[in-house]
Symmetry: C2
Subunit: 204 residues, 2 copies
DNA sequence: AATTTGATGTTGACAATGGAAAGTTAGTTT
DNA sequence: AAACTAACTTTCCATTGTCAACATCAAATT
């Protein structure tokens, strides 16, 4: 009846790896809760610590969210890389297509994280880790476009491709498209147009 | 020295047109303050009323923001219409170009309102006025695209154009583009590609 | 003209938030 | 053993959105 000391694993005062636990808790909260429910205190609750504990690992909520976003970008980059590497032909054209499809799939599968990554929560600070991950993502996409249209047109082409896919993802997630429109179909159509345009000679 | 009663216009208990005043106060707050500083109480403060006064005109902060967003869409629609009507040639091509340029200009000039309109604040409710304004905006853009590429390709084309310009605007406002990139230049390049692609025969 | 009524504002309360400050615990170093 | 420091808790504060209760005033009804 009294305190059975067998396996009475009392919660230790120190967590062990609270920093990573908070990042994971933040990500899960972002996906499971409405965006305005994701608070510092909620994340701390999920990690099983007091609401002031995160302060020692991240200075503020903004910095915590910044690193959650960075983790999101890291997963995002890996998803696109995996998709590109999985194409059978391995042509620049096929690789870019696969990456764009994986892009929209990622945004659809992780809307909360994707929104955080792309500025939906302005509290989110651009931490060094986030800045690095953002740059990596850009470099990755620009490389895929360069392989298709050549380096001279890579930058403008990459901006256009990124804008289009990002815009489609955001309009979908924020329900700003008429309800009868299927973004996946639109993406396929749009990519055909885009790539046709990009490969035109007059594009110098 | 004492109270000069001349023109001593004492503030009346009733505002007169508080509803509209709150919408205007909300819009100005959105543009002048950081996004997380725009609160119900701040808007009420700017309108010179108590923090609970808005409740009688809008049920909640979300509904207030919803109608602020609706007003934004109404101004947005007018800006695009004006730009299209101001072209010299009045060709479908010129009108669509002018609208897209006006689109990016609006987003740049009113970043707070634009962000609200396109889901950056998820508290924002889709009020009837907002739903109507969103549909009008979509119809307007779809019409401009239809005039250029015909009705059969209008829907997919409009989704692509909207996604591209919206994506460019959002990436710019959220600083998700590499810093050396100028969105205006990118827009011009992108529109050339897009319209070239849209007018291709294979686009059925 | 007197009264009632209902829309429009105010005040005060509530729980929840992010952050600051100060106290507590547990390893680490000397 | 003693001092030090990092990790975590507790307490407190200003601010937020919403609610209920009350105040005010214009307009409709009697």
């Amino acid at each position: 009846m009294s305190t059975t000391p067998t396996l009475h694993t009392k919660k230790p005062y120190h967590h062990g790896d609270l920093r990573e636990a908070l990042l994971i808790a933040g990500e899960s909260a972002l996906e499971e809760l409405a965006a305005d429910q994701v608070s510092l205190r909620e994340i701390a609750r999920r990690a099983g610590v007091s609401h002031a504990a995160p302060k020692h690992h991240f200075g503020s909520l903004g910095a915590l969210l910044g690193d959650v976003a960075a983790r999101g970008f890291e997963q995002f980059i890996e998803a696109l890389q995996t998709a590109a590497d999985a194409t059978s032909e391995q042509s620049p054209h096929a690789r870019l297509l696969a990456m764009c499809r994986a892009y929209l799939r990622f945004a659809t599968a992780h809307p909360g994280t994707y929104g955080l990554m792309f500025g939906k929560r302005d509290i989110c600070e651009t931490t060094p880790r986030l800045a690095k991950a953002m740059l990596s993502a850009w470099t990755q996409l620009e490389g895929a476009v360069a392989a298709l249209v050549g380096p001279s047109r890579a930058i403008h082409g990459a901006v256009l491709v990124w804008s289009s896919v990002h815009g489609m993802a955001m309009l979908k997630l924020d329900r700003r498209l008429p309800p009868n429109i299927d973004p996946v179909t639109s993406l396929e159509y749009g990519l055909r147009m885009l790539i046709a345009g990009l490969q035109t000679e007059s594009a110098g």
